[in-house]
């Protein structure tokens, strides 16, 4: 299996930010994203996902190192202070390097 290294950037945040963050990510060089409604708890308390104001979204972005760094830094700068955001990066392998 001939694979290529990429980053998987995962952002877990308030549902209200989904559109903004995905738009920002595409502008910063991501070729795509995947999103799913989740619930959770963290420093900002419990977000049980029962209604709009209480729902989280998990956004996954596969991209190269530079784009991952750019998006992570942008999210850190723009949203960390005032919104509930968790963000982590891991190493993944993809088959089609041109796609991600």
């Amino acid at each position: 299996m001939n694979t290529h290294s990429r980053k998987l950037l995962v952002i877990i945040t308030e549902a209200a930010l989904e559109e903004r963050i995905t738009r920002d990510a595409m502008r910063l060089g991501a070729h795509g994203y995947t999103a799913v409604d989740v619930r959770g708890a963290g420093g900002g308390g419990k977000r049980a996902g029962d209604w709009e104001a209480d729902r989280n979204v998990q956004i996954e972005i596969i991209c190269d190192d530079a784009v991952a760094a750019a998006i992570a830094e942008h999210v850190q700068r723009t949203y960390f202070e005032h919104y509930a955001v968790s963000l982590f990066v891991s190493d993944v392998h993809v088959l089609r390097p041109e796609k991600f």
């Binding site: 209200a16 029962d50 209604w51 104001a53 202070e81």
Partner: protein, 322 residues
């Protein structure tokens, strides 16, 4: 003469709210699917709009322009009063004060629906175009609340996002859409969709109140941490704004039922349109504060004591001014 029972002040739908709150207090795992919450709120907004549009088609409203102006003024006034109170007496920072002012400046559609049910239960009529006022009152309060926070913090007051968010949010869109459809279609053509949108209205409201009870039950824990000021504000603000609403209603010539509903609107605090818009426009504000006050204090107050109070005030004024 037959025994006339003492009238229970609460509409039956309020019991469903209490059931939801109790479920949380006894730590039941009862949970309504998120999709149901959204479906029911879409239904309620559309149905209220339709009903209003239909009534307006049935009995055209005279002198609408001055009434609209007065109602918009009311929507601007409420946050203008709330903000300095929150800043000075409540010692909130400008962001939190602005956020709270925005929530109380806007309106709660479900509180309005409970008010409508309360009047219907008593056979009290109200002016057909009240749902139009619901739509009119959604936005201005939010915009003013956000504006006040921006001015107080010397931010460049960019109201674009908040205004966009609330005008294109589902509340205004479905209310106005429903009004337009009801008004264009009129009583003859609305026909068979009545069974869903009007026949089931009160039952759906009851179901939605179970859900809202669960949400409020969750918030009661936050309430213990809330300041006494916030709780007091959550009770007094609706009384003050509600009375202002009733007075405005009487002044612009609404029926007592209509004035009571305008009081209900003015006294209610938004938890659908405002939280979404304020989260984007005032990210610095703590969203828990406004939700705790609006949902945990003001909403229960209004559906139990507030609405009867606004109606009594309207009826008193009506008798007095006649």
């Amino acid at each position: 003469m037959p025994h006339r029972p003492v009238r229970n002040p609460m509409d039956v739908v309020v019991y469903f709210f209490i059931l939801g709150v109790l479920a949380r207090l006894v730590r039941s795992d009862l949970r309504l699917p998120g999709a149901l919450y959204e479906t029911l709120s879409i239904y309620l907004l559309l149905a209220i709009g339709l009903k209003g549009g239909l009534e307006m088609a049935r009995q055209p409203v005279a002198g609408l322009v001055p009434q609209i102006a007065a109602v918009l003024a009311l929507g601007v006034l409420v946050p203008l009063v709330a903000f300095p109170v929150l800043r000075r007496l409540g010692r909130f920072n400008a962001y939190d004060a602005g956020a709270l002012a925005a929530h109380y400046g806007s309106v709660s559609v479900v509180t309005f629906a409970v008010g409508v049910a309360y009047l219907a239960d008593r056979g009290i009529a109200y002016d057909p175009h009240l749902p139009l006022f619901v739509a009119l009152l959604e936005a201005p309060g939010i915009v003013v609340g956000v504006l006040l926070a921006h001015l107080a913090t010397a931010h460049r007051a960019d109201l674009g996002p908040a205004t966009r968010e609330v005008l294109l949010g589902k509340s205004v869109l479905l209310l106005v859409g429903g009004l337009a459809i009801g008004w264009i279609a009129g009583p003859q053509r609305i026909g068979e969709i009545e069974a869903l949108f009007f026949g089931l209205f009160k039952g759906v409201l009851a179901l939605f109140l179970v859900e809202l009870g669960l949400v409020v039950g969750d918030r009661l824990r936050d309430l213990r941490r809330a300041s006494a000021f916030l709780v007091g504000f959550g009770v007094l603000m609706p009384v003050v704004a509600g009375t202002a609403g009733v007075l405005t209603g009487v002044a612009i010539g609404l029926t007592p039922g209509g004035a009571a509903l305008l009081g209900t609107l003015a006294g209610s605090a938004s938890y659908i349109a405002a939280p979404a818009a304020v989260r984007i426009a005032l990210p610095q504000a703590n969203p828990a504060l406004a939700l705790t006050a609006a949902l945990g204090v003001t909403f229960p107050f209004n559906i139990t004591l507030g609405i009867p109070l606004y109606l009594a005030t309207a009826q008193y004024l009506e008798a007095y001014t006649r």
